[in-house]
Protein backbone atom coordinates (compact mmCIF):
# COMPACT_ATOMS: atom_id res chain seq x y z
CA UNK A 1 0.00 0.00 0.00
CA UNK A 2 1.56 3.26 -1.17
CA UNK A 3 -0.29 5.49 1.23
CA UNK A 4 -2.00 4.57 4.39
CA UNK A 5 -5.67 5.19 4.80
CA UNK A 6 -4.90 7.88 7.35
CA UNK A 7 -2.66 9.79 4.93
CA UNK A 8 -5.28 9.63 2.21
CA UNK A 9 -7.91 10.93 4.58
CA UNK A 10 -5.83 13.92 5.54
CA UNK A 11 -5.16 14.71 1.88
CA UNK A 12 -8.86 14.60 1.13
CA UNK A 13 -9.50 16.95 4.02
CA UNK A 14 -6.98 19.48 2.80
CA UNK A 15 -8.27 19.29 -0.78
CA UNK A 16 -11.75 19.96 0.56
CA UNK A 17 -10.53 23.02 2.42
CA UNK A 18 -8.84 24.34 -0.72
CA UNK A 19 -12.00 23.75 -2.66
CA UNK A 20 -14.00 25.70 -0.14
CA UNK A 21 -11.63 28.66 -0.40
CA UNK A 22 -11.51 28.71 -4.20
CA UNK A 23 -15.27 28.36 -4.36
CA UNK A 24 -15.71 31.38 -2.09
CA UNK A 25 -13.25 33.38 -4.16
CA UNK A 26 -15.11 32.38 -7.28
CA UNK A 27 -18.34 33.69 -5.85
CA UNK A 28 -16.76 36.92 -4.67
CA UNK A 29 -15.25 37.45 -8.12
CA UNK A 30 -18.61 36.72 -9.73
CA UNK A 31 -20.35 39.38 -7.69
CA UNK A 32 -17.54 41.88 -8.31
CA UNK A 33 -17.77 41.08 -12.01
CA UNK A 34 -21.44 41.87 -12.02
CA UNK A 35 -20.81 45.18 -10.31
CA UNK A 36 -17.88 46.28 -12.44
CA UNK A 37 -19.60 45.19 -15.62
CA UNK A 38 -22.57 47.36 -14.77
CA UNK A 39 -20.34 50.36 -13.98
CA UNK A 40 -18.52 49.78 -17.26
CA UNK A 41 -21.75 49.56 -19.24
CA UNK A 42 -23.11 52.69 -17.59
CA UNK A 43 -19.99 54.63 -18.50
CA UNK A 44 -20.25 53.76 -22.17
CA UNK A 45 -22.83 56.40 -23.20
CA UNK A 46 -20.53 59.16 -21.91
CA UNK A 47 -17.60 57.63 -23.75
CA UNK A 48 -19.62 57.32 -26.96
CA UNK A 49 -20.92 60.90 -26.75
CA UNK A 50 -17.39 62.20 -26.18
CA UNK A 51 -16.27 60.33 -29.29
CA UNK A 52 -19.21 61.80 -31.20
CA UNK A 53 -18.32 65.34 -30.20
CA UNK A 54 -14.69 64.63 -31.05
CA UNK A 55 -15.69 63.53 -34.54
CA UNK A 56 -17.76 66.71 -34.96
CA UNK A 57 -14.82 68.81 -33.82
CA UNK A 58 -12.35 66.96 -36.01
CA UNK A 59 -14.52 67.56 -39.09
CA UNK A 60 -13.94 71.26 -38.67
CA UNK A 61 -10.44 71.23 -37.33
CA UNK A 62 -8.39 71.90 -40.47
CA UNK A 63 -5.94 74.66 -40.00
CA UNK A 64 -6.23 74.52 -36.26
CA UNK A 65 -2.97 73.77 -34.57
CA UNK A 66 -2.87 72.02 -31.27
CA UNK A 67 -0.05 70.00 -29.71
CA UNK A 68 -2.20 66.86 -29.95
CA UNK A 69 -2.44 67.25 -33.73
CA UNK A 70 1.29 67.73 -34.29
CA UNK A 71 3.09 64.97 -36.01
CA UNK A 72 6.39 65.04 -34.24
CA UNK A 73 9.38 62.81 -34.53
CA UNK A 74 8.86 60.05 -32.00
CA UNK A 75 11.89 59.74 -29.78
CA UNK A 76 10.31 58.61 -26.55
CA UNK A 77 7.37 56.29 -26.42
CA UNK A 78 5.22 56.06 -23.31
CA UNK A 79 3.63 52.72 -22.65
CA UNK A 80 0.85 52.56 -20.08
CA UNK A 81 0.41 49.01 -18.83
CA UNK A 82 -2.78 48.17 -16.97
CA UNK A 83 -2.50 45.13 -14.71
CA UNK A 84 -4.26 44.04 -11.55
CA UNK A 85 -3.21 44.73 -7.99
CA UNK A 86 -3.95 41.22 -6.84
CA UNK A 87 -3.11 37.82 -8.23
CA UNK A 88 -5.08 34.61 -8.65
CA UNK A 89 -6.72 35.76 -11.82
CA UNK A 90 -5.47 33.21 -14.31
CA UNK A 91 -3.66 34.46 -17.38
CA UNK A 92 -4.89 38.05 -17.02
CA UNK A 93 -1.59 39.64 -16.03
CA UNK A 94 0.57 37.15 -17.90
CA UNK A 95 -1.22 37.99 -21.16
CA UNK A 96 -0.73 41.71 -20.68
CA UNK A 97 2.93 41.32 -19.75
CA UNK A 98 3.59 39.05 -22.73
CA UNK A 99 2.01 41.67 -25.01
CA UNK A 100 4.09 44.40 -23.35
CA UNK A 101 7.28 42.39 -23.86
CA UNK A 102 6.43 42.00 -27.55
CA UNK A 103 5.89 45.74 -27.86
CA UNK A 104 9.14 46.55 -26.07
CA UNK A 105 11.05 44.17 -28.32
CA UNK A 106 9.67 45.92 -31.41
CA UNK A 107 10.43 49.39 -30.12
CA UNK A 108 13.95 49.27 -31.57
CA UNK A 109 15.97 52.40 -31.01
CA UNK A 110 13.14 54.48 -29.58
CA UNK A 111 13.29 55.26 -25.91
CA UNK A 112 10.65 53.72 -23.75
CA UNK A 113 9.10 55.10 -20.60
CA UNK A 114 6.74 52.86 -18.70
CA UNK A 115 3.67 54.04 -16.86
CA UNK A 116 2.42 51.24 -14.69
CA UNK A 117 -1.10 50.93 -13.36
CA UNK A 118 -1.45 47.97 -11.01
CA UNK A 119 0.90 46.21 -8.60
CA UNK A 120 1.44 43.08 -10.65
CA UNK A 121 2.87 44.98 -13.57
CA UNK A 122 5.08 46.98 -11.23
CA UNK A 123 6.37 43.83 -9.53
CA UNK A 124 7.35 42.48 -12.89
CA UNK A 125 8.88 45.58 -14.45
CA UNK A 126 10.64 47.11 -11.43
CA UNK A 127 13.61 44.81 -11.92
CA UNK A 128 13.69 45.12 -15.69
CA UNK A 129 15.75 47.44 -17.81
CA UNK A 130 13.06 49.92 -18.86
CA UNK A 131 12.66 53.16 -16.95
CA UNK A 132 9.41 53.68 -15.09
CA UNK A 133 8.03 57.19 -15.44
CA UNK A 134 4.96 56.89 -13.22
CA UNK A 135 3.37 54.13 -11.25
CA UNK A 136 -0.14 54.01 -9.82
CA UNK A 137 -0.65 51.17 -7.41
CA UNK A 138 -3.60 52.38 -5.41
CA UNK A 139 -6.59 52.04 -7.71
CA UNK A 140 -7.43 48.61 -6.28
CA UNK A 141 -9.88 47.73 -8.99
CA UNK A 142 -12.12 50.67 -8.13
CA UNK A 143 -11.59 53.34 -10.73
CA UNK A 144 -12.76 56.73 -9.69
CA UNK A 145 -13.28 59.20 -12.51
CA UNK A 146 -11.60 62.08 -10.72
CA UNK A 147 -8.49 60.03 -9.94
CA UNK A 148 -8.21 58.82 -13.51
CA UNK A 149 -8.68 62.31 -14.77
CA UNK A 150 -5.69 63.35 -12.62
CA UNK A 151 -3.59 60.48 -13.97
CA UNK A 152 -4.50 61.50 -17.51
CA UNK A 153 -3.53 65.06 -16.71
CA UNK A 154 -0.04 63.91 -15.68
CA UNK A 155 0.32 62.02 -18.93
CA UNK A 156 -0.80 65.03 -20.94
CA UNK A 157 1.73 67.22 -19.16
CA UNK A 158 4.47 64.70 -19.92
CA UNK A 159 3.40 64.85 -23.56
CA UNK A 160 3.28 68.64 -23.70
CA UNK A 161 6.69 68.96 -22.05
CA UNK A 162 8.04 66.48 -24.59
CA UNK A 163 9.01 63.93 -21.99
CA UNK A 164 6.86 61.63 -24.08
CA UNK A 165 6.21 61.91 -27.81
CA UNK A 166 3.59 59.21 -28.00
CA UNK A 167 1.41 57.50 -25.44
CA UNK A 168 0.18 53.96 -25.93
CA UNK A 169 -2.13 52.21 -23.54
CA UNK A 170 -2.06 48.47 -23.15
CA UNK A 171 -5.19 47.20 -21.44
CA UNK A 172 -7.52 44.24 -21.53
CA UNK A 173 -10.57 44.07 -23.71
CA UNK A 174 -13.56 42.51 -22.04
CA UNK A 175 -15.20 40.42 -24.73
CA UNK A 176 -17.21 38.10 -22.53
CA UNK A 177 -16.77 36.43 -19.16
CA UNK A 178 -14.73 33.74 -20.89
CA UNK A 179 -12.73 35.75 -23.40
CA UNK A 180 -10.50 38.70 -22.76
CA UNK A 181 -7.73 39.93 -24.92
CA UNK A 182 -4.99 42.49 -24.46
CA UNK A 183 -5.23 45.51 -26.75
CA UNK A 184 -2.83 48.30 -27.49
CA UNK A 185 -4.17 51.74 -28.34
CA UNK A 186 -2.49 54.99 -29.18
CA UNK A 187 -4.02 57.62 -26.91
CA UNK A 188 -2.67 61.06 -27.35
CA UNK A 189 -1.86 61.79 -30.94
CA UNK A 190 -4.94 62.42 -33.01
CA UNK A 191 -5.27 62.24 -36.73
CA UNK A 192 -6.71 65.40 -38.23
CA UNK A 193 -9.22 64.82 -40.98
CA UNK A 194 -8.33 66.20 -44.36
CA UNK A 195 -11.85 66.38 -45.77
CA UNK A 196 -14.07 69.45 -45.77
CA UNK A 197 -16.82 70.43 -43.41
CA UNK A 198 -19.86 68.25 -43.15
CA UNK A 199 -22.00 70.50 -40.98
CA UNK A 200 -21.58 74.16 -40.25
CA UNK A 201 -21.29 74.18 -36.53
CA UNK A 202 -21.46 77.30 -34.46
CA UNK A 203 -18.65 77.22 -31.94
CA UNK A 204 -19.04 78.89 -28.57
CA UNK A 205 -16.76 80.57 -27.59
CA UNK A 206 -14.54 79.48 -30.53
CA UNK A 207 -13.17 76.31 -32.04
CA UNK A 208 -9.68 76.65 -30.56
CA UNK A 209 -11.10 77.23 -27.10
CA UNK A 210 -13.35 74.20 -27.35
CA UNK A 211 -10.65 71.92 -28.68
CA UNK A 212 -8.30 73.03 -25.96
CA UNK A 213 -10.81 72.34 -23.22
CA UNK A 214 -12.25 69.24 -24.82
CA UNK A 215 -9.25 67.10 -25.67
CA UNK A 216 -8.05 66.65 -22.10
CA UNK A 217 -11.48 65.45 -21.03
CA UNK A 218 -11.77 63.30 -24.10
CA UNK A 219 -8.56 61.47 -23.23
CA UNK A 220 -9.64 61.11 -19.61
CA UNK A 221 -12.86 59.55 -20.88
CA UNK A 222 -10.93 57.07 -22.99
CA UNK A 223 -8.68 56.22 -20.09
CA UNK A 224 -11.62 55.79 -17.74
CA UNK A 225 -13.35 53.48 -20.16
CA UNK A 226 -10.16 51.46 -20.74
CA UNK A 227 -9.61 51.02 -17.01
CA UNK A 228 -13.19 50.04 -16.30
CA UNK A 229 -12.96 47.51 -19.07
CA UNK A 230 -9.70 46.13 -17.70
CA UNK A 231 -11.08 45.79 -14.19
CA UNK A 232 -14.14 44.00 -15.52
CA UNK A 233 -11.90 41.63 -17.46
CA UNK A 234 -9.81 41.08 -14.32
CA UNK A 235 -12.84 40.00 -12.32
CA UNK A 236 -14.03 37.75 -15.12
CA UNK A 237 -10.60 36.21 -15.40
CA UNK A 238 -10.42 35.63 -11.66
CA UNK A 239 -13.85 34.06 -11.62
CA UNK A 240 -12.89 31.64 -14.40
CA UNK A 241 -9.55 30.81 -12.77
CA UNK A 242 -11.22 30.10 -9.44
CA UNK A 243 -13.88 27.99 -11.09
CA UNK A 244 -11.28 25.81 -12.73
CA UNK A 245 -9.38 25.56 -9.41
CA UNK A 246 -12.59 24.45 -7.71
CA UNK A 247 -13.17 21.89 -10.44
CA UNK A 248 -9.64 20.51 -10.13
CA UNK A 249 -10.03 20.26 -6.38
CA UNK A 250 -13.22 18.30 -6.88
CA UNK A 251 -11.49 15.96 -9.30
CA UNK A 252 -8.67 15.45 -6.84
CA UNK A 253 -11.11 14.69 -4.02
CA UNK A 254 -12.89 12.13 -6.20
CA UNK A 255 -9.62 10.47 -7.11
CA UNK A 256 -8.40 10.37 -3.54
CA UNK A 257 -11.73 9.06 -2.27
CA UNK A 258 -11.61 6.24 -4.79
CA UNK A 259 -8.07 5.45 -3.74
CA UNK A 260 -9.11 5.56 -0.10
CA UNK A 261 -12.02 3.17 -0.72
CA UNK A 262 -9.72 0.75 -2.51
CA UNK A 263 -7.23 0.90 0.34
CA UNK A 264 -9.98 0.22 2.87
CA UNK A 265 -11.28 -2.72 0.84
CA UNK A 266 -7.80 -4.14 0.52
CA UNK A 267 -7.29 -3.88 4.28
CA UNK A 268 -10.58 -5.66 4.97
CA UNK A 269 -9.83 -8.40 2.44
CA UNK A 270 -6.43 -8.90 3.98
CA UNK A 271 -7.88 -9.23 7.46
CA UNK A 272 -10.50 -11.79 6.38
CA UNK A 273 -7.84 -13.68 4.52
CA UNK A 274 -5.72 -13.80 7.66
CA UNK A 275 -8.62 -15.10 9.80
CA UNK A 276 -9.59 -17.71 7.21
CA UNK A 277 -6.00 -18.88 6.83
CA UNK A 278 -5.62 -19.07 10.59
CA UNK A 279 -8.86 -21.10 10.83
CA UNK A 280 -7.75 -23.50 8.10
CA UNK A 281 -4.42 -23.96 9.90
CA UNK A 282 -6.19 -24.80 13.19
CA UNK A 283 -8.33 -27.48 11.45
CA UNK A 284 -5.34 -29.13 9.89
Amino acid sequence: MAETLRELKSRIRSAKKTQQITKTMQMVAASRLKKSESVFKKSQPYHEKMELILSHLMESSQGISHPFFDSREVKTVGLVIVTSDRGLCGGYNANIIARAEAFLKDAGSRNIQLILIGKKGYDYFKTREWPILYKYLDLAGKPDYQRISDITQELIEAYLSRTLDEVNVLYTNFVSALTNKPVLKKFLNLQQEKEGLKSDFIFEPDLEGIIDAFLGRQIASRMYSALLESFTAENASRMVAMKSATDSAKEMIDRLTLKGNKARQAAITKEILEIVTAGEAMKA
Partner: protein, 94 residues
Amino acid sequence: MSEHTFHLTVVTPEQIFFEGDIRSMIVPGGAGSFGVLANHAPIISTLLSGRLVLTTVEGKKRTLKIGPGFLDGLNNEVTLVTETVTPMDSEQSD
Protein backbone atom coordinates in the same frame (compact mmCIF):
# COMPACT_ATOMS: atom_id res chain seq x y z
CA MET B 1 -41.54 64.15 -31.76
CA SER B 2 -43.51 67.23 -32.52
CA GLU B 3 -41.84 70.07 -34.33
CA HIS B 4 -41.40 72.12 -31.18
CA THR B 5 -39.45 69.61 -29.19
CA PHE B 6 -36.01 68.10 -29.49
CA HIS B 7 -34.17 65.19 -27.97
CA LEU B 8 -31.75 65.81 -25.13
CA THR B 9 -29.27 63.44 -23.51
CA VAL B 10 -27.38 64.48 -20.40
CA VAL B 11 -24.50 62.11 -19.63
CA THR B 12 -21.83 61.90 -16.96
CA PRO B 13 -19.01 59.33 -16.78
CA GLU B 14 -21.14 57.37 -14.31
CA GLN B 15 -24.52 57.29 -15.99
CA ILE B 16 -27.08 58.73 -18.38
CA PHE B 17 -28.61 61.41 -16.20
CA PHE B 18 -31.44 62.49 -18.45
CA GLU B 19 -32.72 61.31 -21.77
CA GLY B 20 -35.89 62.48 -23.42
CA ASP B 21 -37.70 65.07 -25.48
CA ILE B 22 -37.88 68.62 -24.19
CA ARG B 23 -39.17 71.97 -25.42
CA SER B 24 -36.34 74.24 -24.46
CA MET B 25 -33.28 74.55 -22.32
CA ILE B 26 -31.03 77.29 -20.98
CA VAL B 27 -27.38 76.40 -20.48
CA PRO B 28 -24.41 78.22 -18.93
CA GLY B 29 -22.33 78.48 -22.12
CA GLY B 30 -18.65 79.30 -22.12
CA ALA B 31 -19.40 82.57 -23.90
CA GLY B 32 -22.48 83.37 -21.88
CA SER B 33 -25.72 81.70 -21.03
CA PHE B 34 -27.91 80.78 -23.98
CA GLY B 35 -31.15 79.05 -24.78
CA VAL B 36 -31.76 76.15 -27.11
CA LEU B 37 -35.07 75.49 -28.86
CA ALA B 38 -36.00 72.92 -31.47
CA ASN B 39 -34.31 73.27 -34.87
CA HIS B 40 -31.34 75.08 -33.43
CA ALA B 41 -28.42 75.49 -35.81
CA PRO B 42 -25.61 72.93 -35.34
CA ILE B 43 -23.65 74.02 -32.31
CA ILE B 44 -20.79 72.91 -30.14
CA SER B 45 -20.19 74.90 -26.98
CA THR B 46 -18.22 74.67 -23.82
CA LEU B 47 -20.25 74.89 -20.64
CA LEU B 48 -19.29 76.48 -17.37
CA SER B 49 -20.47 75.03 -14.14
CA GLY B 50 -23.83 76.48 -13.31
CA ARG B 51 -27.52 76.06 -13.75
CA LEU B 52 -29.23 74.12 -16.50
CA VAL B 53 -32.94 74.80 -16.90
CA LEU B 54 -35.08 72.44 -18.97
CA THR B 55 -38.69 72.82 -20.01
CA THR B 56 -40.19 69.41 -20.49
CA VAL B 57 -42.80 68.48 -23.08
CA GLU B 58 -45.48 68.95 -20.42
CA GLY B 59 -44.27 72.47 -19.77
CA LYS B 60 -42.67 71.71 -16.41
CA LYS B 61 -39.37 73.33 -15.54
CA ARG B 62 -36.48 71.33 -14.14
CA THR B 63 -33.33 72.88 -12.82
CA LEU B 64 -30.08 70.96 -12.63
CA LYS B 65 -26.72 72.05 -11.35
CA ILE B 66 -23.99 70.95 -13.72
CA GLY B 67 -20.21 70.97 -13.67
CA PRO B 68 -18.11 72.20 -16.59
CA GLY B 69 -18.79 70.30 -19.78
CA PHE B 70 -19.78 70.47 -23.42
CA LEU B 71 -22.90 70.76 -25.49
CA ASP B 72 -23.28 69.32 -28.95
CA GLY B 73 -26.40 69.93 -30.97
CA LEU B 74 -27.08 68.63 -34.45
CA ASN B 75 -30.44 67.92 -36.12
CA ASN B 76 -32.52 68.23 -32.95
CA GLU B 77 -30.27 65.78 -31.19
CA VAL B 78 -28.65 67.62 -28.30
CA THR B 79 -26.00 66.02 -26.13
CA LEU B 80 -24.74 67.54 -22.92
CA VAL B 81 -21.68 65.93 -21.38
CA THR B 82 -20.46 66.97 -17.98
CA GLU B 83 -18.62 65.37 -15.11
CA THR B 84 -21.20 66.17 -12.43
CA VAL B 85 -24.94 66.77 -12.34
CA THR B 86 -27.07 67.33 -9.28
CA PRO B 87 -30.77 68.07 -9.39
CA MET B 88 -31.89 71.30 -7.72
CA ASP B 89 -35.40 72.04 -6.45
CA SER B 90 -37.13 71.10 -9.63
CA GLU B 91 -40.66 72.41 -9.86
CA GLN B 92 -40.06 75.72 -8.14
CA SER B 93 -39.69 78.83 -10.19
CA ASP B 94 -36.72 81.03 -9.58
